[in-house]
């Protein structure tokens, strides 16, 4: 593979700062043109380093990065033509908003009229056309964020990188900005590589998400697959809420297997990341895929549980129960009249399907 098939390609990229620890290990990644790809992971997982290598502020220790089929490791950052939105915006505080936006265009020696036009267009895109003469510090956090976005796009880069750009905003503004960024991406069709540690942000915006941990991509997939079908216990844990039950594989039957918990309950599950009988396994089960006192008969798994705690959350009731030896088991019960009689201490019957129960790896 020469890397010509994809827009951005990481080929066996390693990165070490001190010659002792690899922060990125054997990374391979292809990003097609026009995709919104999010690198998601806890801090120290290597996602930001990967982004910085793409931007040119870090050099791979080994391996190569290709942009449109060309190796770029030896190209300095200012010649890569990649836009970037920084964590704290990095707007130049001594320049007005207009001057900030004009900066990349002036560097490229565009004619004055063209610069003005492009700056105006970029500001309109983020709906800040009246703020051009302000200084960045006279703007609110959200406005600064939009200016930073406009600045990263104004010179029409091939690719835009965003390094946790919404981290400094409050929750409401963050959600609003997520949609704005998503819409801008959809409208102009630019390739975006986005770094965040916030899984809901990743799920909202991305075409695909690469989950990073320990310098490696754990799983790369679309948001729904990642949520519904995590490949391993890290991904399952990191994305969305999930119930975990420890056990050992007792028998394997085609695509399913039976896992025995420590207190002897046998759970029929989907065999995902276990190989053979006797393996340790961590079962992953989403709280919304569990049914309480259901009278339908097509559930492979059905156990008695004791209600430990009820938390009223409006649209649903978050219920903590003790089942299969796990007293931190969460069930999300829709707020309908069916379950209005639930009380703490009550015994209930819980049911769930084998296909929703993913038998994943377990590292002791």
């Amino acid at each position: 593979m020469s890397g010509k098939d994809s827009f951005v390609k990481f080929e066996n990229v390693d990165k070490s700062y001190d010659g002792e620890v690899l922060v990125v290990k054997g990374l391979n990644l292809d990003i097609p043109q026009g995709e919104f790809l999010t690198m998601l992971g806890p801090s120290g997982s290597g996602k930001t380093t990967t982004l910085m290598m793409l931007a040119g502020f870090e050099t791979p220790t080994s391996g190569e990065i290709y942009l449109e089929g060309e190796p770029i490791s030896s190209i300095p950052p200012y010649k890569r033509g990649i836009g970037m939105v920084f964590q704290n915006y990095a707007l130049f505080p001594h320049m007005t908003v207009n001057e900030n936006l004009a900066f990349p265009l002036e560097v490229r020696k565009l004619p004055k009229a063209e610069i003005d036009e492009k700056v105006h267009k970029a500001l309109s895109m983020v709906e800040l056309q009246d703020f051009g003469t302000r200084m960045p510090l006279q703007l609110s956090g959200g406005q600064q964020q939009r200016v930073a976005l406009a600045r990263a796009l104004v010179f029409e880069p091939r690719l835009v990188l965003m390094d946790e750009p919404l981290g400094a905003l409050d929750k409401k503004l963050r959600e609003q900005m997520q949609y704005e960024i998503k819409h801008i991406h959809e409208n102009i069709g630019i390739t975006v590589v986005y770094v965040t540690h916030d899984q809901s942000e990743a799920l909202t915006m991305s075409n695909r998400i690469a989950v990073f941990n320990d310098g490696k991509i754990q799983q790369i997939s679309t948001p729904d697959v990642l949520y519904e079908k995590p490949d391993n216990s890290f991904v399952a844990q990191f994305i969305g809420e999930n119930n975990q039950i420890k056990g050992k594989v007792k028998s394997v039957n085609g695509k399913n297997c039976v896992v025995v918990t420590d207190n002897g309950d046998e759970i029929v599950s989907l065999k995902v990341n276990v190989n053979s009988v006797g393996d340790n396994s961590l079962l992953s089960l989403r709280p919304e895929r569990v049914w309480v006192n259901s009278d339908k008969g097509d559930y492979e798994n059905s156990f008695e549980a004791k209600v430990e705690e009820l938390i009223y959350l409006g649209d649903h009731v978050r219920t903590r129960v003790n089942v299969c030896g796990n007293n931190q088991f969460i069930v999300k019960i829709p707020n309908s009249s069916d379950h209005s009689d639930l009380k703490e201490g009550a015994k209930v019957k819980l049911s769930w399907k084998a296909e929703d129960t993913r038998a994943l790896d377990f590292k002791a």
């Binding site: 950052p77 920084f86 704290n88 130049f92 900066f103 990349p104 560097v107």
Partner: protein, 418 residues
């Protein structure tokens, strides 16, 4: 809407107007705050405002001489400055010299000597010998005691002292003086030292400021961007000069820079200069600038460093990312953001440099002396504190002008120490 909002002042629950009540509550806080700053206020008053006031007063004060020769000056004012004064002037001068007690006349003669060299010994000698003169007419007898009494130059020199306030010291500070009619004229050419020294002082201070900036900027940049373990070491190197005595450092520079010194020896050994063409790097203006630059470097580096520390590294990254070459990014993004540090450091170094005198005294040689050296000279040797005060006031005024200009051009709010 209720009518309360428009029916006069708002009242508290006790019926006292809210504003009055608030003032009362705040007064106690104000008094407390005032008492807290009182010691500082007193300190500033004693250590800053009073000395400056004293300096300004001394720079124009000419009362003393007028208390010793009040009558003489009164009659003197009527003199037409042609030939010699009348017998009456001689007589009152004779009487007042006789009446003045002890050191009063000495102090007066010191003052008179500022306007014409020679008054001091003339008065001293006269005081001793006048005792023999019993009765008038006095003019001839006084001239017989010392022929300088018959020299109109001495008499004319008194003209600038007849008022209790004088701008004579300020004139002296810029190579001007009063003639006998209190008209402003230039000093004789061979005494015009101060304008020359002022210009040199500003030139040297400006050059030192520029050189400390040129040397200090990269150091401060390294300090602000290197990892902590290296920057600490570098910081110690920067601060080391602070910890060694000024004299020791100055002497070390002498050893290095003099014509038979280490630097010249190395250059000769390396064959870069001929033995007879050794560079003159010491005991002149060059030496003054080199040594002052080294001594004042920390005053430039520290404000620069503390400002640079606050410049986010992401600015440079952003500029590079947007397509600017490293040089362009530095010039357009980093440098403008470091201007507050440049301003603070520059102003600090310039202000310190302008009043420097120990280093110029030691390494300045023939032409390295600055205005501070003349202030020290008059302060200690001639005791002409009026001139010292005038020189100091001019220095203060120049600094205020500089500050004002700076405020106009760059803005005071742009000074930042961190």
């Amino acid at each position: 809407m209720s009518s309360e909002t428009i029916s006069g002042p708002i009242l508290t629950s006790d019926g006292i107007p809210l504003k009055v009540s608030l003032k009362k509550a705040e007064r106690i806080n104000k008094i407390r705050a005032f008492l807290l700053v009182l010691p500082l206020l007193a300190f500033i008053l004693i250590s800053f405002i009073i000395p400056i006031g004293d300096m300004l007063t001394r720079s124009v004060d000419d009362r003393y001489i007028n208390t010793v020769f009040p009558k003489t000056f009164e009659i003197y004012k009527k003199w037409d400055k042609q030939g010699l004064p009348s017998e009456e002037v001689y007589k009152t001068m004779f009487i007042e010299i006789g009446e003045a007690k002890g050191f009063k006349i000495g102090k007066a003669s010191t003052r008179m000597n500022y306007s014409k060299s020679g008054w001091k010994s003339l008065i001293k000698k006269s005081q001793r010998k006048f005792k023999k003169i019993k009765e008038g007419p006095y003019k001839e007898q006084m001239i017989a005691v010392d022929k300088r009494w018959g020299d109109p130059i001495y008499w004319k020199a008194l003209g600038e002292m007849v008022d209790p306030t004088t701008f004579g010291y300020y004139l002296n500070a810029v190579d001007l003086k009063y003639d006998s009619n209190k008209k402003v004229i230039a000093q004789p050419e061979n005494r015009r030292i101060y304008m020359h020294t002022w210009i040199k002082t500003f030139k040297v201070s400006l050059l030192v400021t520029i050189f400390t900036l040129m040397l200090g900027y990269p150091i401060a940049y390294l300090l602000a961007t290197l990892p902590l373990k290296y920057s600490n070491l570098l910081m110690i190197c920067v601060l080391l000069p602070f910890w060694t005595s000024l004299l020791v450092r100055t002497v070390a520079w002498m050893i290095i820079l003099q014509q038979k010194g280490v630097f010249n020896n190395l250059m000769v050994m390396a064959g870069l200069i001929a033995d007879e063409n050794r560079w003159k790097l010491m005991y002149n203006e060059t030496g003054t600038i080199i040594v002052m630059t080294q001594i004042l470097l920390p005053f430039m580096v520290l404000p620069l460093y503390s400002v640079m520390k606050t410049i986010s590294p992401s600015y440079m990254k952003a500029a590079l990312n947007l397509g600017a070459s490293p040089l362009h990014a530095f010039w357009k993004v980093y440098m403008p953001n470091s201007i507050p540090g440049i301003s603070a450091g520059g102003l600090l170094v310039f202000i310190i440099a302008i009043g420097y005198f120990i280093t110029p005294e030691l390494v300045g040689g023939k032409d390295g002396q600055m205005i501070g050296n003349w202030i020290a000279y008059h302060l200690k040797t001639t005791l002409n504190w009026g001139l010292c005060a005038a020189l100091g006031s001019v220095l203060l005024a120049v600094m205020i002008v500089f500050y004002w200009l700076y405020n106009k051009i760059i803005g005071v709010e742009n000074i930042k120490l961190g």
